[in-house]
């Protein structure tokens, strides 16, 4: 039970911690108050409990496809929010920056609800197994410790980059997470046959198995998949492009408005 709970908790915490770290660095770069972070965490915690208590009912909707549809919707919503964050954070400060904290806290709340619900369900189930409680919770502690540490180190790592790189790196990492969201949503929809099967593109499970620690890390960071399908890869590309193009558009717009500003003088 121990190793198992380490892996399970690590997977969920790592994904959330990396997203939160990147958003925190971005908001620090943009000199936003970090109050959105607390709001997002609290909403996410509440969301996780609501989702986990209702998942049994939700799962039976739509011919047992409810769970996948809901989670895929959450993932696509996170992708949408990341796109908006990419756009707004590159626009000139005055225009729409006040919306960013709201976007960030909703984004964190959605991500945490999804990841947290699985943890709540898992640990809730374990509570019925008297003998497993101690090793499971020890494992959960270790998994959470590793996940949070990785998040903290990513945060400081990003901040220690040359200042001109930080922003760009954050956007690229957010775009990668956006790609992961699109790819995972595709996978979930395939699982309930809402998207048809597509051939597997490659199999790298021998080189880098998904269930190894580097595999988990890469999955959380760039959505690594040992045997991705064609549609997953396409969705990944689209998600990545969506976030990065919106950020580029905002940036170009910024430039243009800056030029007209100086032109006025």
């Amino acid at each position: 039970m121990f190793l198992n709970s380490v892996v399970l908790i690590l997977q969920e915490i790592l994904e959330a911690a990396l997203l939160i770290s990147i958003l925190l660095v971005l908001s620090r770069q943009l000199q936003l108050s970090a109050r959105w972070f607390a709001t997002g965490m609290i909403l996410g915690g509440i969301g996780a409990f609501i989702l986990s208590f209702n998942l049994a009912t939700i799962s039976e909707w739509l011919d047992y496809a409810g769970q996948e549809i809901l989670i895929a919707t959450i993932m696509l919503a996170v992708l949408g929010l990341l796109t908006l964050i990419g756009l707004y954070s590159t626009l000139p400060p005055s225009s729409s920056r006040h919306a960013l904290p709201y976007l960030m806290s909703i984004c964190v709340a959605l991500a945490l609800s999804r990841e947290g619900a699985e943890i709540v369900i898992y640990l809730g189930g374990i509570l019925n197994h008297q003998a497993s409680i101690q090793p499971t919770f020890t494992g959960a502690g270790i998994g959470a410790g590793i996940g949070l540490s990785a998040g903290v180190l990513l945060y400081f790592g990003l901040l220690s980059l040359p200042v001109s790189w930080i922003f760009c790196t954050c956007i690229v990492l957010l775009a990668l997470i956006g790609g992961t969201m699109a790819s995972q949503a595709t996978l979930l929809l395939t699982q309930v046959d809402w998207i048809t099967y597509s051939p597997v593109l490659w199999d790298s499970s021998i080189w880098l198995p998904e269930d190894s620690i580097p595999g988990h890390l890469l999955y959380a960071l760039i959505g690594y998949e040992a045997t991705p399908s064609l549609f997953q890869a396409i969705a990944y590309g689209l998600g990545f492009l969506l976030v990065s193009i919106s950020a580029t558009l905002g940036h170009l717009n910024h430039f243009r408005s800056r030029r007209t500003n100086t032109g006025d003088k």
Binding site: N4, D63, L76, I195, T227
Partner: protein, 119 residues
């Protein structure tokens, strides 16, 4: 109704014309039960290159998560509930799966054979 609406949305979203084109009745249903954190049967034989509708019934009071890295499938099944997972079409081979919440005992595999299963 909502299913076709959903499909329409997916079609719009991906503009690739993706959508299920196999009708429901054609898909063979395979049953898998979870009891006392074990899969029954622990080996499922399915034909190659066929989409399978896997009906997973959790008879335990505790939740379980059906997971397979080889199949790229992951789904939580709560206690005393059942669910549906679509698998394949797959080339012949062995595809292990496990219950992520109790992986020490909940182990199983799907064996995809080129010919029709003997039954």
């Amino acid at each position: 109704m909502s299913r076709s609406v959903g499909r329409f949305v997916i079609l719009l979203a991906f503009t690739l014309g993706i959508g299920s084109n196999t009708s429901f009745a054609d898909t063979p249903i395979v049953e898998l039960r979870i009891r006392n954190h074990l899969f029954f049967p622990d080996t499922l034989e399915v034909p190659a290159h066929t989409k399978i509708k896997l009906l997973v019934i959790n008879e335990d009071p505790t939740p379980e998560e059906f997971e397979s890295y080889e199949l790229n499938r992951e789904k939580v099944i709560l206690g005393h509930r059942k669910t549906v997972i679509f698998i394949g079409p797959l080339p012949p081979g062995e595809y292990p799966f496990f219950g992520e919440f109790y992986p020490k005992t909940a182990q199983g595999k799907i064996v995809v054979t080129a010919q029709q299963p003997s039954e």
